[in-house]
Each structure stands twice: as C-alpha cells, then as structure tokens.
Assembly symmetry: D3
Homo-oligomer: 249 residues x 6
C-alpha cells in the first residue's frame, strides 16, 4: 500500500536548501520539504540576556511564525491578537533548545544567536523543517564570526514519524497524513546518531513499545539523510563542525 | 550509590491523594509527591467550545499555574505580567491532550471538563503530578454525571525519568535531581501499559537508544504503581473505568 | 432569630491558623475562617521599588488571587484574561496599605516584603481573612530577619460586619449573608483598638449614623478575638510586636 | 490656626457646576471645586450588560480618567500603558456603586447609564468632585428620558475629610493637605443624611473612634451644602428627585 | 450654493485660542474651531528618549486622545480596550512630525517636549485644530525656558480642505461635511507658506490634478489666517519665532 | 549627477511580479522592486465585518508586516511585543483604503477580501510595493470568483518620490535615498491618472508648491509604467478591469 503522494513508508519528501536567500542576515536559508517552505535566518547580537551576563557564555534563542496564508485557510496574525499562542511558544522553545544541544556556548562567547523561522508555506512538518534549516543558517552565521574554536559540536536535523492506521509507521508526514495519523512523533538527532529531543503524542490514541521502536528506526534513517544534505550545502564550513571534538579524541 | 534523598534509582517518592479536598468543585484532589503538592480540580460546564458545537461530542481542557511561593524564590504572577508564559502553555496543553487520550468524547456528550492544576508547593515533577492527580479529579467529576456509558476508557498516570551523571537512569526526579540531570523525560502511560506522551529532552546533552530503553523500563514500572494508588482512592468508581472497553472484548 | 449557620449576631466563625504551612516561603500560614481558606505567604526581597531607593526605608506590598474553583462556579483566571481585574486590585491595595500601617518601614531597612494571599476556598470574607493571615505570615518572616529593632509596631486583624434585613447588625458574614446584606463593611483594626481602614458600602441601600455605631461595636469585639488568636500562634514572636513602642513609653 | 489656603477647618472650597457644558452628551457638567475641575457626562445606552438582560432593570456604570497634565507632573496615559491602573479602577467602581444607591434600576428600565468623569485639572478630591458632578449629569440625562416614574430616589454628593497633625479634623482637603494628612476619609451621603459609602484610611497612621466621630460631623455638614448647590443647578428637575418616595409617604 | 452652516466655500469657522487654560502645564491652550474644542498642553521633560541620548539634541513628541463623549455617540476609551487604535497612532505621529519641522532640536538642547492634545468636543478637523493649538502651547512652554537661541524656526498651522459633490472645493470641513466629502485633505504649512505635510485621500473616490490645485489654493489662504491669530495670542513671544533664521539673512 | 545606484532621477528600479507564488491563497504575488521583496496574498472570506452586515456590500482590508530580518538590523516581532506598532497600522490602513478606491463593494457582494503584505526583504518603498503587488493579488482572487459584474473599476499602483539635496526630485527611492531625502512623498494613482492617496512629508524640512509639482510629474510617469507591468502579468483578467465602467460610457 502506498502513501497519498506515492512515497514509500520510509521515504522523505524532496528537500532543498537555498542558502544566502536574503541579503541582510548573517546566515539565511530557504528550506523546502515537499510543499513546506520555511525561511530560516540567523542574527548575531553582541550581547547576552541578563541571566548570562558576565559569564563568558553565549546564548541561542529562536522565534517561529507563520504567514497568515501559509495555511489552507487564513490564520490570524499573532501580532493582531496581541499575544503569542501556545503552539508557537512550544515550537520556538523546542527549536532553541535543540540548537543549544550542539553549540558550545563558551566557545561562542558573550553573544546571542537569534534564529528566526518564518513559514512561508505549510504542508506538515514545519517545526522539523525549521530545525533542519535553522541549523544551516546558524552554522553559516557562526562561520562568519571566524572564532578561534568552532562552537558547533555536531550536526543536527529533525523529522517527523507517525503511525497511519492502514500503512503503519511512516516517515516525514505531510499535512494530510499528519491530520489522520494516530500517533505523531518529532525526532531531533545529531550527526552521531544520538537523540536531542523525542516528542511522541497519541492524541486520542496510544502506542506500544514495539510501535515506538519501529518509529525510531524510520526516524534515524531519515535524519541521517537530512544531515548528508546539510553537509553538502554547508560545503567547507561543514568540515569545521565538531572539529574541536574530534581533535580531542 | 544512593540518591540525594536516599531513594533507590527506580523508587518513587511517597505519594498521597486526598480526594474531595475542596467543597465547591465537582471533583478535587490534593496530590502530594514527595514535597510537590498540587490541587487538581475538575469542573463540568454544560457547553462545548465553538469548534465542537452541534457534534454531540465533549471536550477536556486544562489550565496549570503555580502560586508565587510554590518555589524557592518567588516567581511573578502571570496575571500581573499580563500573559501566560511559554512553559505554562506547554504544560497545560500537555495535560489536556493526555487526558483526552483516555476519554471517549462522544460518551461524554456536549459538555466541557475544565481541569485546573494549581501547584501549591513545587519540588520537581509538577507536570506529571498534575496529570496523575487530574485523572483522579476528572474521573470523580465524571462519576457525578451518572452517564449511561462511562466515558473514561483507561487509567492514566505520569512520571519523570532522567539520567544522572553518576547514578545513571533514575525515576521520579525531585527538583535538585531535575536541575542536574543530563536528560529529562516525561512519560504519560495508560493502565494497559501504552504510551500517551513521551517527551525526552537532552538540554545541552544527548542520549543514545540504549539509554532511552533504560529510561522507559523505569518509567513503566513507576507508572504502574501510581495507577494502583489511583484505583485505591477512586474506590467503586475505578470499576467503571474502561468497562465499556471490557464489555466489548 | 438566629443566623443561617446557627451563629449569634456577634459571633465569629471558627478560625484556625496553620503556620509554616509551606516549606519555601520565609513566613506562611493557612488561615481558615469557616469555609474560607487562604494561603498567606511572606517573601523577603533585599531591595526596594525605584521610588524608595537610597532612603533607608523598606516597603510592604501585597498580591491577592483566587483559584478558579475557590468559588461555587468556576471563575476565569486573570492570567488567561491578560489583566488583573478591578476587584483584585482594590483588595491587594487594601492588604498592602493595612499592613504598612503597623510596620515601621525605617526599622525594616531597604527590603521589600511581598505578601501573597491565595484563596483556596471562598465562603465570604476572603479579604479580611487575607489581612488577618497576612499579618501572621509577615510577622514570622520579619522574625527570621533578626533585626536589632523589631519593625512591627502593633497587631492587626480584620473582619466584616453588615446589616441583615431581619437580624440587624451581624459579625463576620459568610457568602450567603454577604450576598443578601443591605450594608457591608470591612474593618481593619490594631491591637490598641484603633482603626486602620473602614470601608462601608450600602450597595443599593444606605445606612444611618446609629447603624454605623452598632456595626463598629460588633467589629471591635470580633477583631479583638482575632488578635488573641494571632498572639497564640505567633508564640514568642508576639512578645516582640510593639516592643519598641512600649520601650519608649 | 488656619489652613494653607486660609479656610476654616470646616469650610468647603468654592464650588461651581456648569451644566450643559458639552453639546453631544445627554447630560454634562463641568464641576469646579477649588482648583479641581472635572468634566462629568452621562450617556444613555438602550441596552444592559449581559448579566441583566431580560430582567426589566437598568444599570449605571462609571469610568474615570485624568488628562496627562491634570497633575503637576505629567502622568502617563493608561491607554499607552495598555491597562487601567488600580487606583483608577477603585475610583470608577466607587462612582458607579455610589450612584446606583440612589437610582431605582427598575424604574430606569432596560438601559445603561454610562457616566464619564474626566479630570481636566487636579488639586485633591477628584473622586468626590466626580461623584457630586456625576449626580448632576446623570439626573439631567434621566430627565431627558421623560419616564413615567422618576428613577432618582434621593440626592447624592461626596466630599473628603481628614486629620491634619496640627489643625485636627478638616473638610474638603486640597492636594497639599491630602498629601500630609494622617487620615483620609471619603464620604458619600444622600439628601436624607444617610451614608452610602464611607472609606477611611490611615496610611501609616491609625485613628480612634472619637476622631472618627469628629470627621463624620464635618463631612455631614459639607455634603449638605453641596446638595443645596445641586438643587439650584438642577432647577425644576430637582423637584422630581425622590418624588416617588415622597408620594409613598 | 452655500454650505450647511452658511459659510462660503473658502471660509474658516470661528476660531478661538484661550492660552494658560490650565495651571499645571508649562504651556496650555484651549483651541476652539467651530464646535471642535481641544485642550493642548506642552510639558518639558529634562531628558531625551534613549535613541537621542548624548547627542545634544532635543525631541518633540505628541499624544492625542478624545474624551468618550467628545463625539455624538460614546466612543470606548482606549485605556479600557488596552491599546491605542490605528487612527489615534496615525494622528499623534502626524502632530509630532509636524511640530518637529519648525523646531531646531539642537537649540532645544537635551530635553523632550511632550505635547498632549485632548479633544473635549469633536465636530470635524480635530487633528488640524490639534496642530494649530499645539504650536501655541509648545511655543509658550519653550518661551518659559529662556534659551539663548529660540528654537522655533517658523509658525505652523493646519487645516482641512475637501471636495463636496455639489459645491466643489471647500475649506475647514465640519463633521457633516467631512462625512460626505468625496476627497479629504489635511494640510500643514509654515508661516513662510511652505508645506510640511500634505495628506489627501479619496476614500472610494479619486481626484484630478486640477482639483488638487484648487484644494491647495483654499488651504494656503486658510492657514495664513490661522497663523495671524497665533501671532496675536502669542504676543511678545511671537517676535522670537524664527528670529535666528532672520538674523542669519 | 547620478543616483547612488546609477539610476536617472526619473527611473524606476527593476520590477518583477511572480504570480501564483504560493499554493494556498486565492491570489498571490511576490513583488520585487530593486532589493525590496514583498509577498502579497489575497484571501476571500464569505462574510463581512459587523458594521456592514446585511447591506449587500463587501469589504477590503489589509495587513502588513515585516520579517525580523527583512531589515539590516533585526527588528523585534510585533507579536512578541504584544501589539501592532503605529507605523504598521498607518501602512495597513493606507493599503486597505487605497484598494477600496478601485473596488465596487456592491459588485463584490457580502464578502471580505483580506490582503496580506509580508515584507521578506526591505530596501525602501515597502508600502508602495505592497500596494502595487496587492492590486495584482486581489484582482486575481476576484477573478477566481467569477462574478457577473467585475468589481475592479480601474488599475492601481503606487510609488514614492522625494527631494534629494543635491539631485533634486527623484523617483522610487531606495533605503539609503529615503533616509537622506529632505522630502518624502507616497503617491497612489489609478490607470486613469487620478490620485487616490497623496502623502507628502518634510520631516525636519519643508517644500514649496513648485517642488510639489515636480514631484507629482515624476510620480505620474512612474505609476503609469507600473500599471503597464500589472496589465502584462494579469493577462486576460486585465481585460475585465474597469469593463463595467467602459460599458457605461
């Protein structure tokens, strides 16, 4: 049985990463995953939030938003609602936390990396596409800093997996699949194959340990392909990722 | 090597659930897990949110808050900040989603269950204690409704697991353990031993698949003990949980 | 003619004050007045608001809130409404002002006392119970400071009085009495029997000077009983209240 | 010993009420009390708030504000702060409550009276001037309605009294007196000499029952003069105030 | 064909400017244009906003508001809506920008002029009346500063022009004319006859270049009359406006 | 003397309009004017705002926003500031008003057109590019409706003109030119060469009538070129614009 868009259960959608997409930011990427498109930018600010001042450490923080017509029906702007919604907050906290897992904040020095992920078009998987794209934008911006020790300690990418009632475990769900899946899980992993985040939810459903293991197998394979693509678009700068770690081996 | 409070790696803190703690709500519980204390109440409202009207289905939603001095240093009230923070939103979305996984919304009928979890005293694990307590308050409130078919399809409880640098995988982390753990994972599971939510985070750290399996083993055992306690405090009403499911076997 | 709960016109409801109710705050009390229950905590912060900086004086400020199901029907959280309501503001301004009347801010030194009154269960008289309980929590927290001169200059307690259409003047109104009373008055008084606050309101009614005098007589007697209870729960620390004043006589 | 502006202890400041001050509102007055100037308007809306619908009763509600330079130093607009402050809320709740005490809401019928009190220039006593002026604007607007039974049951005016350290009890405090007074009390009374509101505060001070009685004597005399002035500016319409009450005698 | 209030096409409404209208502000004016009345005040603050600090330059900023019953039906206060509306923001940005065009910010020195325009009664043209009045209040406040070089470089006034379907181009529209005009234009000009702001809008209509020229002719003539009146009320201080400019000729 | 980017005084920057840029909206365009890039979308909602209900007329409204790194330094999101700023409000009101001037709201019927203009990259002229692009997106969305009478009555485009100290009047200012121009004017005009909006501002400068005429000449020429490009990208649908008007000639 094949998926709605003809993919196999363990197949990613076509992925593209257009780097230096905008002229102003220190790092920028337009990441396309199927019909999902996200502009990821990285901004370097030469100061840190109050709770970190004077500790010689940096910070990485992220914001996430959708254009009103990124979605099939228009969603109201959070600015005109006067507040940032719960889903947005959850996603931007996730992106920031995930990126910090592969940045050595001491090597970064007292500066803040602002990551902005703006969804131009949504078709499922916007938060995982944001993480995969944000890693590229961030790494390029850090490359511009020309620091003595490169603060990015490993590659980082994310994808979704889920359980379709008929097909079973599937990789990289589009919007229709996501809406009908019984279980939805987001995985963030490193180049070394370790977990950074694992968020599985069975909204109005549950899943067994055996199903969990199937989902993890699919996710690991998908993320390892995404990291290969990141290495290609990053080119030379990819060589610097994790170099400090390797040099200490 | 023992834990800071003398527990074994796989040992829960002392748990207590005082039901009918307040006079006004349809269901209420004061749940105590070690030094963590949460008042959970359930309110029945005879209408549903706009997106569900006229569909013959009910809804379960949750709110979570902390008293200013639930914590060691005073935390500012969200009401005087004029907005609900990201952490609060994330937690209350989690509680609502988790409970809905074990409620048959059609059997509930067109009514909303408002779950309020107010942390009186915090010492780690407030979100998982909230879920475990909220299940009890909700089930008691539903019991009051005297519906023909009982809408609660299974038991539900939650706990945390994590990795301590020296001890390894541990169950039910208190605040000090939570602050120093390399990996922190919250598990929500059913009486049948299935997962409802699985949220693992390695803030500034990562974890391997083998470590994940260790964490899941500890968590499963802990949750099964919590569900035993729920059965005891619920008494007769516990017999009705999942009865429709069983009757269909 | 007797009152709805069998009390005499001038009789207080049963009162209980559980001190050291929480582990984190510098002072804490659970005050119970009939079915009304309020958690009062006192927090010491070693700085003052901007308008007082550098003057060698301290400050006392209060916040008040109700849990959503402290009341018979659920009241919406002020945090999710994004603002603090008029009634809440009025009450917390009253609590802070009342406490400041018995604190020598110079002896307190450049620090702020944050008083939090959180109503767990409401059955009338939550603002006066908050003041009576807050005085105890505050005095205990100040006791911890071990200051050379004790800044609390007198005892302080509060109660309500009102006029029932049939019974006439009554003391310490519960919710039902409060809802039907023609006149409602809150009194805050000191151990010396002086007024600190006097707020009488005849919503859709008025009252004469003779009625006012009756109300004041009842209130004075009630407050003097509450202060006796405060002395008992405060134990040794009660001896220090007002000692500077006495030493100057 | 005389007061700072040469008045005797029991003397009001010069009072003026310019009616029909604005062309648009149903009732309007510019009330001047010494240097304090407040524009009071009354608006009639032909519907009631949700909690009163279908009960055949009306409602009276008030809003209060100050121009930024009503005061000696500029105060920031509440609109640009994004919220109404605690002091403002307290005052507007007081004004509405006071007016409702002399309006028969059933005779008013299902309509809302919006009272707006905007302080153009402040020199102490803005809330009591607002009440005195609002009564006039409201009564004129109600007069326009030409109702079969006149809903205003009595006159209503307000003033302040206080205790000056050197002079003792004084009437109608200006800003300088208010800032230095040990005790500050606002009184709202009816034409019949009954109390509607009584709010006495000893910020950082207390007062005895004997002092309270002195303050009440001064206040009663002042309010009775204010009501005489209201009768004059209201002219013919004054005759209708309380006529239903009198007709029932 | 004459206008609704009997004026000729190119005739201003009666204008009055009452200076020193309030006791507290450094400069104040009540400007009356027909039935439109605006209180304009100027406040001098001895500091500048962050973006100007340390540059030896001052700043001029404006706020605009309407009393709820300035208009025919009551408009809701922006403070109780919790935000400043788009129309208000547009107007206050316009007032500030216009005034800054005739103030030499370096001669002003590191201080901020806060201009407040509060509409007491509205009958069309409130924004242009605000500018004309604000110029007077500002110039008087600056006069109080007694600076070595007078920072006001020219006079400034504003009016509206529009196209009436039957009469054609008209000057200084009242509310009824404004509501029915096909084109509405606000003009801000200097004593030298130069433009500072020109805002023409054909809501649901358009206008040709020939019509534009007619409108500009009317507006120029009207503004020059307004500036004559400003000179009269400013008296001696009018002589200082632009003196630096003239001295450099 | 040539401009900073080599253009002549009356030369537009290169303009491109990519239609059907997104898959979800009823109409969408990415408009590029030099380095300025704006995504314009049009959404059709089958209802109107409350003030228009039941009148058989439609509505056109617009929202405008910038991505945080559309600009050279990161600008804070309005959603996280909790409010929409004054500049944004001014711009979105302008866009909506301008579009309504060329839409016959009765022919549109009871539906709302939501126009969203999101600036992806900014280099001056974002509001005028938004209007020019929004016209295209709107017209395409209306084309989809297949209405009996086409509601778009004329073409509409916008550009900026200004006065450079050295070069004099210039057309279509980029960011650097805009920052240094003495006078800045935005023009919105129709295919018939009539004005819809004219907003000229001399921040800290003024301009004469002769200069105004020069600016208008440049602007007219530029807008007529923009409208030619609109006709090309709209293709067949361009033929329907204004057809009702023509058929009535």
């Amino acid at each position: 049985m094949t998926r709605i868009d003809g993919r196999k259960a363990g197949e990613l959608r076509p992925v593209q990463m257009d780097t230096e997409y905008l002229i102003h930011p220190e790092g920028s990427v337009l990441i396309t995953v199927g019909q999902t498109k996200v502009i990821c930018t990285a901004t370097i600010e030469e100061k840190v939030p109050p709770f970190l001042r004077g500790q010689g450490k940096g910070w990485v923080t992220a914001e996430y938003s959708m254009l009103p017509r990124a979605t099939n029906s228009r969603n109201r702007r959070e600015s005109s609602q006067g507040k940032v919604g719960g889903r947005t907050m959850e996603i931007q906290r996730l992106i920031g936390r995930a990126l910090r897992a592969v940045v050595d904040l001491e090597k970064l020095g007292e500066r803040t990396l602002w990551i902005d992920c703006d969804v131009i078009q949504a078709d499922g998987g916007t938060r995982t596409a944001s993480i995969t794209g944000a890693f590229v934008a961030m790494t390029m911006a850090i490359g511009e800093l020309d620091l003595p020790a490169f603060p990015v300690t490993d590659f980082l990418a994310a994808t979704s997996v889920g359980i379709d009632e008929e097909i079973g475990a599937i990789l990289d769900l589009n919007y229709v699949e996501d809406s009908t899946a019984e279980v939805d899980m987001n995985l963030v992993m490193t180049g070394a194959g370790h977990f950074v985040e694992l968020q599985g939810t069975g909204e109005e459903a549950t899943f067994s340990r055996a199903q969990l293991n199937e989902l993890l197998d699919l996710g690991e394979a998908g993320i390892s392909q995404l990291i290969e693509m990141q290495k290609q678009v990053l080119g030379k700068i990819a060589l610097r990722v994790g170099e400090e770690v390797n040099s200490n081996l």
